[in-house]
Amino acid sequence: MQREGSAFQGLGVVTLKELSDHLTSTRMRVLEWLVVLVALAALYGAIQQIKDTTAEDPFLFLRLFTTSRDPLPSFVSFLSFLVPLMAIGLGFDAVNGEHNRRTLSRILAQPIYRDALLFGKFLAGLVTLSISLISLWLIVIGLGLLLIGIPPGGEEIARSFVFLLVTIVYAGVWLALALLFSIVFRSAATAALVTLGIWLFFTFIWPVLAGAVAQIIVPPDPRYMALGLQTPGTAIAEQVLARFSPSTLYAEIVVALLDPTTRALGPIYLSQLQGAVLGAPLPLGASVLIAWPQIVGMVATAILLFVIGYVIFQRQEVRA
């Protein structure tokens, strides 16, 4: 039976309710404290490192994000681990939780479509993540101002802002994945485990696996091996495979955005570097253009995962 009227009727109500649930939940508080404390630790390490190694750097502020000091990883690497955790933590029981609490039928008895319910849940999760990420971003800039004492330039602010947006999209990918599995599996624990498993697979195992698979697809050329070089075909295949992982995409985007001297992501031939002025920073537009395929890939992945979840949810029996 086709619905009547807008699919988004009641979207606002669901979003606001979900948002308030998220923001007041203990889970969210724990996740936020985890992220903030860990990020602050990384940031403190970075600032100490920057203070120790005073060097002229036109993009000193961006170093806040990328500099690491043993034993802590950099702020960016922390984010790339913790943002998926946060997103999965927020999304893994979005739909099956309603099932298990037997509240789904009750909600849908209201003049709210399933569309609006799912959209609202996703939006609320994304807004929650955005709020915490924006606060984190502001904390970084504020602490940077306080502890380094150098105001960031417009270009740096713009770059870090694009970085913030990309991080939100990255969170969206994992949120959509978590939402999908919360639809597919009735048990919240199963959904959480499967989502975390996929995250672990793509973040830690896939990059290693990609190299092995690439060598099978494009066997290394012995001539290159004799020279101790990677065969270009294998390197390209490995990169293409590795880019199936959102973590890889995110890492590449971060490199392009936060290191303005990055000119290409992926293998380049020496001939392409001939005559190149190395170390010259690229304008923001060019950097975004370099990382654009990755950004597009992430946005599209998020949308597609959501759509799959949406279709499954629409076809599901909810009156269990």
Partner: protein, 388 residues
């Protein structure tokens, strides 16, 4: 009478002197003689000169001879020296000679003219006298001549002009010749050894000898085309000589490449042709003819010029051409350096242009399209699967 005899004897001794050397003891000459190679000399006032004398004993027993000088004008000092010391007597052995020097200190204000000094050697049986005529005169004037081997040279304002100059000392003594050259303003002139780099201010030239030095004239880079004159002058004591040297500077074009208003950077999209204005200025002194343009860029890049050559650029004028730069398709975003060279008959100039390559935004649009498709799928799903 006796005086004349001794003079005659002395003259005789001079005449036979070569024979004495050839045949050490002439058989028909016997006795002790006081001799001088040159008993009449010309001296300069204010100088110390020596006249060499000799006491020669032929086949007689050695005799102690007291030496004296008489007829010394007032103010002069005449000292007889033997073996480097003043001596008062000499004793030549049989068939041998004793060399003596008559040292004369002539005061500066001594009047010109001829004075006769008499050197006497008096022994137990001999009384020898040798008159020495001393004429005071201004010495033979030092005489120098300066001859350039190639007096006229031609070159550009960038070349250095090297003249070989022959200095001849025609005077009777060794001279230290000071060297100087008068060149137009801002021209650099220096003397060096003929085969060497050491710069010189003066060279010693032996009497009657000649020496070649090199005069190197370097015009300033900005020297206009034209004829210039350089005067080389040498001087020693009161002699001097000059010679005029010609310098014909032919003009030289000098090129300078830059962008319009000095801007040497541009942006270019990978794989797309971009036009950059290039200004070629001739800052030299002669027109630059047939200026050819070339560019060196990373491999795979294409640089052409429109027009490819410039016929003529007058001094202090400039011409603008368009450089058409096409970065390779594979160029990665960022800055590259390409060098643009203008050359005209040996003169060339090049400037590095910084080309900021932007990659095509086509993929960006494609990416937006992909996101659009994803959104369409979503809208389609919403429309298709929407249900109560």
């Amino acid at each position: 009478m006796r005086y004349g005899l001794i003079a005659a004897l002395a003259a005789f001794a001079v005449v036979i002197a070569p024979a004495v050397k050839a045949d050490d003891a002439p058989k028909d000459v016997k006795g002790i003689f006081l001799m001088s190679d040159f008993p009449a000399v010309t001296l300069r006032p204010g100088e110390t000169s020596t006249v060499s004398l000799r006491l020669q004993n032929y086949d007689t027993a050695p005799d102690r001879l007291a030496l004296s000088v008489s007829g010394v004008p007032k103010g002069w000092t005449a000292t007889l020296m033997g073996g480097g010391q003043p001596v008062q007597a000499a004793m030549p052995a049989t068939n041998s000679s004793v060399s003596l020097d008559l040292r004369l200190d002539v005061p500066k204000n001594a009047p010109m003219g001829t004075q006769t000094l008499t050197v006497a050697a008096t022994g137990s049986s001999t009384n020898l006298q040798l008159p020495i005529a001393v004429t005071l005169a201004k010495d033979l004037p030092a005489k120098l001549s300066l001859t350039p081997q190639l007096p006229e040279l031609r070159g550009t304002s960038k070349s250095s002009f090297e003249y070989d100059l022959n200095i001849k000392n025609d005077s009777g003594k060794k001279l230290t010749v000071s060297l100087s050259a008068q060149a137009p303003k801002n021209f650099d002139a220096s003397f060096t050894e003929q085969y060497g780099t050491q710069e010189l201010n003066a060279v010693p030239v032996d009497a009657g000898q000649s020496k070649t030095v090199k005069l190197k004239v370097t015009p300033p880079n900005t020297a206009n085309a034209g004829e210039y004159k350089v005067t080389a002058r040498i001087a020693a004591e009161d002699a001097s000589a000059t010679t005029d040297l010609g310098l014909d500077i032919t003009g030289q074009p000098k090129l300078d490449v830059s962008g319009r208003e000095g801007l040497v950077s541009t942006r270019a999209a990978a794989g797309k042709e971009t036009s950059v204005p290039v200004v070629i200025t001739n800052t030299g002194t002669a027109p630059a003819e047939d200026v050819e343009l070339s560019g060196s860029a990373p491999s795979g890049w294409k640089i052409t010029f429109n027009p490819t050559t410039v016929d003529r650029i007058a001094p202090d004028k400039n011409k603008e051409v368009q450089a058409l730069i096409t970065p390779t398709d594979k160029a990665i975003a960022g800055d590259y350096v390409t060098s643009i060279t203008a050359s005209a008959r040996g003169e060339s100039a090049s400037t590095d242009f910084r080309v900021t390559v932007t990659t095509s935004t086509m993929w960006g649009i494609a990416g937006v399209g992909i996101i659009g498709v994803a959104l369409l799928v979503m809208v389609g799903a919403v429309a298709r699967f929407g249900r109560r």
